[in-house]
Subunit: 334 residues, 2 copies
DNA sequence: GGAAAAAATGATACCGATAACACAAGAGAG
DNA sequence: CTCTCTTGTGTTATCGGTATCATTTTTTCC
């Protein structure tokens, strides 16, 4: 059918106007008459014109529709959902998502950032706020719309959309105590590249401290959080510390793994030992006993982050600190 | 420190050569002397030069390092792992991943493709092979390196890296029969936008047919496959068909949800009813009784897909049909 | 009716790289 | 010692849009 991709010049010729006028109509910016508008749009439609975003982004400081999104990982945890929602929202507004994962490693974040900035994105969404010096310098130099997600930062670089991890932990700590748990442990993962999961443990410990309870033993495994890691963590903790009566896991996957171990070891839940996770994964809600956990609306977070970013990209005013509420689910395992 | 981003011109000046020579050195293409090379590299390093990929891609037919990757979804299933591996591999080779999700809807695939092609990507990785006419036309016109993943296609558009879903189902069907199951059902999801999961059911049914067994009742729910959907599907099937002695679920999440329902209904597994899933998710391996399922190496698939694509991008010869083996795990639930 | 203001449109430069070709210097062949 | 071939390097055009400013046309208002 079409011999080659039609360019703006073709469209302009077909409409009998200059390239510039066609450009204005198609971007709906600047002035043009209604009649011209109709002619250009019709020509574009007839030629099946698709603008070359590469050229547009290249030719202008402000025309990029690329957004870089960096998360620790896409599998397993909740980040897949977050990215999915971000992408859906960006797509709805005509933007494209340039993805990256950094496994909680600051160097990888920096490398990714360098590579993504060379595409002159319209904005960035990063996870967390612990950046290397190089990263911070690049971010400052780039002066891009930037949303930092996941962890709430009340003094954000630009915009923060997140959760209060510390409070999640604190709240859960109080729940453990109210259920009479006293020999408690925390089980985490990602020891060599800790993310924000461990902030929850700090809140948890503080709750114990505030109540004058003994601190929780903590076991942080090397690998990424997973069912297996939860299983092993429970095994390790119980072997090492004997009579524990509660374990707070870094997330629900680990908690479910931990429960599997406890059951196989003949421990009753919640009779002998209380278990809690974090994240509110689907599976946790249909266990025979619903898992005690903290629900997080990853959809709300992703949507809020993407929308805040786009608002900032358009230059409109945005709230720069957006807290996504979480909800403690008492469940039946504590 | 630096006032502005240094461009190639700056580097060339600093090295005392022309822009073109600097470009050649930095891309390691064409001819240049060893001494020139050293000077340019040193200048680039000193100025902390980062090439503008946008400009490079714009200026050349072949310089793009963008790869478009489209999957049905990022959350829940196995696609998060696949994309994560693809991205890791692409990153390792200096490419960037432009992501998209299409929820198994052909129109969304087409819209995404249109938008991504306007970035002139170096290649594409799509899921499945059921494209709309418009999609196929665009793909043909673009003549891009293209890898279709997930479903193995022995006559691929360009390259196919996938799994034989039909055989997975067939194999599982034979296992159901060998365990004496005769009143069997299939439970799926995504009714309005079926993906390849349902191809497994076709294989499954064929196994029953070949053995002269009655066909399986099939319940395909509307929503995406999830723990909940498995729970409800089991409930619906048992309410409607009474004494089932086996259910084959579309994936492990649904299977685990289904097991939860069966247990809550007082049915023994595998005594009263046999359950199987597909996908080999972690959680399935640590259930008290290991779930009967089919293991899929999403890592192998993602890596193979990305590597095949990059090989093709470089113009080197590639095998165009790469089958990723799967492994039936008998487990303890059938 | 004519000047000033506003609206519509056009001409040109430019973004930062790469492709294609031109050209100078040195090496090897006869 | 010239002639060709190779090697290294530079020059110019180009990709497809957008920004800027100039120019023409129309409207407004006294």
């Amino acid at each position: 059918m079409d011999k080659r991709k039609p360019s703006l010049t073709q469209v302009a010729e077909a409409a009998g106007v200059s390239k510039m006028t066609a450009s204005r109509v198609l971007r709906n910016s600047g002035r043009f008459s209604g009649e011209t508008r109709a002619r250009v749009l019709q020509a574009a439609d007839r030629l099946n014109y698709v603008p070359d975003r590469l050229a547009a982004a290249f030719g202008s400081e402000t025309a990029s529709t690329l957004v870089g999104v960096l998360v620790p990982r896409l599998s397993g945890g909740l980040f897949g959902q977050v990215v999915e929602t971000i992408d859906a929202t960006l797509t709805r507004f005509g933007y494209q998502t340039l993805i990256g994962t950094y496994e909680n490693r600051a160097e990888q974040e920096e490398a990714w950032l360098k590579s993504v900035l060379s595409w002159r994105p319209a904005g960035l969404i990063l996870t967390g706020r612990g950046h290397t010096e190089g990263t911070s310098a690049m971010l400052k130099a780039a002066t891009l719309p930037l949303v930092e997600i996941w962890d709430l930062n009340t003094r954000p670089t630009d915009i923060s959309v997140g959760i209060n991890h510390f409070d999640c932990g604190y709240e859960m700590g109080r729940l453990f105590l109210s259920r009479g748990r006293r020999r408690i442990a925390c089980a985490g993962a990602d020891a060599s590249a800790p993310g924000l999961g461990q902030v929850r443990f700090h809140g948890f410990q503080e709750a114990l401290r505030d109540a004058g309870a003994p601190p929780a033993e903590t076991e942080i495994l090397e690998d990424r959080p997973s069912f297996y890691q939860g299983f092993y963590a429970a095994q390790t903790l119980l072997a090492r510390h004997g009579k524990l009566d509660g374990i707070y896991f870094q997330n629900d996957e680990m908690a479910i793994g931990g429960m599997a171990y406890c059951q196989s070891a003949g421990l009753g839940i919640p009779g002998d030992i209380g278990i809690a996770g974090w994240g509110g994964m689907d599976a946790a809600a249909i266990l025979e006993r619903r898992l005690t956990t903290t629900n997080v609306s990853t959809r709300a977070l992703g949507k809020a982050a993407a929308e805040a970013l786009l608002t900032r990209v358009r230059g409109e005013p945005v709230r720069d600190v957006i807290e996504i509420p979480t909800k403690l689910i008492p469940g039946g395992t504590l």
